[in-house]
């Protein structure tokens, strides 16, 4: 299989300056050493050259990647100049953006050549706070304001929880009013607190209501996953993402944590399962031949019978492979299916 592109999500630290009720990334200080970055770039340069790979994307993730500070990212820019030639290397970042200010702003403007940055925000419920007592909501909005001013496209991840069900319309318009590029709604995972956890059915209820509001607003901005699902239904094409839909084997997708450990999926990194190995001890040729590297891809090829006969399997493909239940289906199956039935009925009427 010829690799055509590489997507590398790097978690340079697992520490965070914020605390979210549904996140446990508050780790003792963990820092990716710059010499590990140098090793990565060296191996990446050799692999892309020998395999004629032209496109590499690095998504800086965490923890909070801006905690690494301007010196780290200035070094990354220097290392890239030293090693990466004849490859289009695009940098993106997922951050709470509360630290986007001062000189770090200058360096990140230089590094993040895609001008794409993602953040996360909960405007109506106190699910997020900054450890030093500052107001997360205000600091995040100020960060978004500066990023927009600096020409970035900002996207937001909103984690849908039980309390979100009562404010669907408010959420829709709030995110529209920030003037961001798009918002991605994801259901809350791994939390048993009854005031926050939602069921698959509730996820479906949320998405259906959200769709109706979006439709009434003439689909005026991009909301995920509804945007992809609507497109898939209208154009009869599959969704291309590992979250919902098939993924391609020609794109190598890796997550690297601060210690150099590699995973095929962010959720595997969080759970520390299906580890591929360490970049310090492996070359990319070994990585692409490792059984865990294409675990997600393979799992998508082995859908359970119920999925194979489902009308929406080409859209859902059983969702995220890391979130399959014992039957091999996505744990959100009921909610997704109800939503897709709703969308299909509305959109086909629209097409007629």
């Amino acid at each position: 299989m010829q690799i055509r592109s590489i997507y590398l999500s790097i978690k340079p630290t697992l520490s965070c300056n914020a605390k979210c009720v549904y996140c446990d990334t508050l780790q003792p200080s963990t820092i990716l050493p710059i010499d590990l970055m140098e090793t990565l770039f060296e191996k990446l340069a050799s692999f892309t050259k020998s395999n004629k790979i032209k496109y590499v994307t690095i998504n800086w993730h965490g923890g909070e990647p801006m905690l690494m500070g301007l010196k780290f990212y200035a070094n990354v820019i220097d290392l890239q100049k030293k090693y990466i030639k004849n490859v289009e290397l695009v940098h993106k970042m997922q951050s709470n953006v509360t630290l986007y200010k001062g000189n770090l702003r200058k360096v990140l403007k230089k590094l993040l050549n895609s001008r794409i940055i993602g953040t996360s925000l909960d405007p109506f419920h106190p699910t997020r706070s900054i450890l030093n007592g500052e107001n997360y909501y205000i600091k995040c909005l100020e960060g978004i304001y500066l990023l927009l001013k600096d020409g970035f496209q900002v996207s937001v991840i909103y984690v849908v929880h039980k309390k979100s069900l009562k404010v669907v319309e408010k959420l829709y318009y709030f995110f529209k009013n920030i003037n961001i590029h798009y918002v991605r709604f994801l259901p809350l995972l791994d939390m048993t607190d009854p005031q926050y956890m939602i069921t698959a059915e509730e996820w479906g209820v949320f998405l259906k209501e959200l769709y109706d509001i979006w439709e009434n607003d003439n689909f005026s901005y991009i909301i995920s996953p509804l945007f992809e699902w609507k497109k898939a239904i209208l154009e009869n094409v599959p969704v291309r993402s590992c979250e919902s839909g098939p993924i391609s084997k020609s794109g190598l997708h890796l997550i690297m944590s601060h210690d150099g450990l590699l995973y095929a999926c962010d959720r595997f990194q969080i759970k520390r399962t299906h580890c591929i190995g360490n970049i310090m001890q492996m070359d990319f040729d070994e990585i692409i031949n490792h059984k865990e590297t294409y675990y997600v891809y393979k799992k998508k090829q082995l859908l359970p019978k119920e999925c194979q006969i489902c009308n929406f399997s080409r859209i859902c493909m059983s969702g995220c492979a890391a979130l399959h239940d014992d039957t091999g289906k996505t744990m959100w199956c009921n909610g997704i299916k109800n939503t897709l039935i709703h969308l299909h009925s509305k959109l086909t009427k629209f097409m007629d």
Binding site: I138, Y173, F174, K176
Partner: protein, 272 residues
């Protein structure tokens, strides 16, 4: 390029800028006009309605003129005096939304004048009158001129384009600067108590941020992207529920218009 709205007496200080000059009377305008470099003059604003404006016929004009109606209940009948002028130049009437403004709007429209509504923070009765005027503008076949801000908002809803009322009403300081009689830069004639700092290019972005941080009704308003808190100045506690009703009516009209056109096109296509 910014446009400066300046009083006649301060034209000299802004010689190199694009200016709209405002004049208390046509006589004052005639007196100063010879001193103004015509290349930079892009519009004239007349601040009072004169019974006799024949003096304007002495001026060769090729730039737009905007006439301010501050007291529509007493001034609407004087609008008839501008028919001759409106035939010679691009002519617009700016009408303050006060009791009886709708009479002035209807007279202006019947005479074929473009209308701009100086809307401010209208009470419920005035918003009901605005709704009535919107319906008149939309449905009366004799109306052939735009009524702003209705017209631009309707077009934006229809085409699903973005716009905002600040821009429509010439009150976005990134493009329009109002120079007070004492030379200070202010937000607009309506909001001339709000003095601007030097760098105002981000005024609307900063306003957007501030309103979102406040988490008042603007933060989750379905029309915020078109308004950006326009109706929250000068009184931030102004409640927008009636204004939202007006916007809903404009949006429904735009959606209906789009559907009607789609139907018509489908129908025409079927006959081809």
């Amino acid at each position: 390029m910014k446009i400066y709205n300046v009083p006649l007496t301060l034209v000299d200080s802004l010689k190199t800028k694009e200016i709209i000059v405002r004049s208390p009377t046509p006589t004052d305008l005639l007196h100063y006009l010879s001193e103004i470099q015509s290349d930079n003059l892009i519009g004239i604003q007349l601040l009072s309605v004169e019974k006799d404006n024949s003096i304007l016929s002495e001026i060769e004009l090729s730039i737009p003129i905007e006439l301010n109606i501050d007291d529509p209940s007493s001034e609407y009948s004087k609008l008839y005096n501008y028919v001759e002028l409106s035939r010679r130049v691009d002519f617009k009437v700016s009408i303050k939304v006060k009791p009886d403004f709708e009479k002035a709007v209807k007279v202006a429209l019947s005479l074929g004048y473009q209308v701009k509504l100086e809307v401010g923070q209208p009470d419920d009765t005035l918003v009901n009158n605005l709704i009535e005027i919107f319906k008149h503008y939309l449905s009366n076949p004799t109306v052939t001129c735009p009524v702003e801000f209705f017209h631009s908002v309707l077009i934006a809803f229809f085409h699903k384009h973005s716009t905002n009322i600040w821009e429509i009403q010439d009150e976005d300081p990134s493009s329009n600067i109002y120079i007070k009689d004492n030379g200070q830069k202010a937000l607009s004639m309506r909001l001339n108590e709000i003095i601007l700092e030097d760098n105002v290019d981000n005024f609307l972005d900063e306003r957007r941020l501030q309103l979102l941080i406040e988490q008042g009704e603007c933060a989750t308003c379905r029309f915020f992207t078109y308004c950006i808190g326009y109706f929250k100045i000068p009184d931030n506690s102004y409640r927008c529920n009636k204004i939202l009703e007006l916007f809903d009516i404009i949006k429904t009209a735009a959606d209906q218009l789009r559907l009607d056109l789609q139907e018509t096109n489908k129908h025409d296509g079927a006959h081809e």
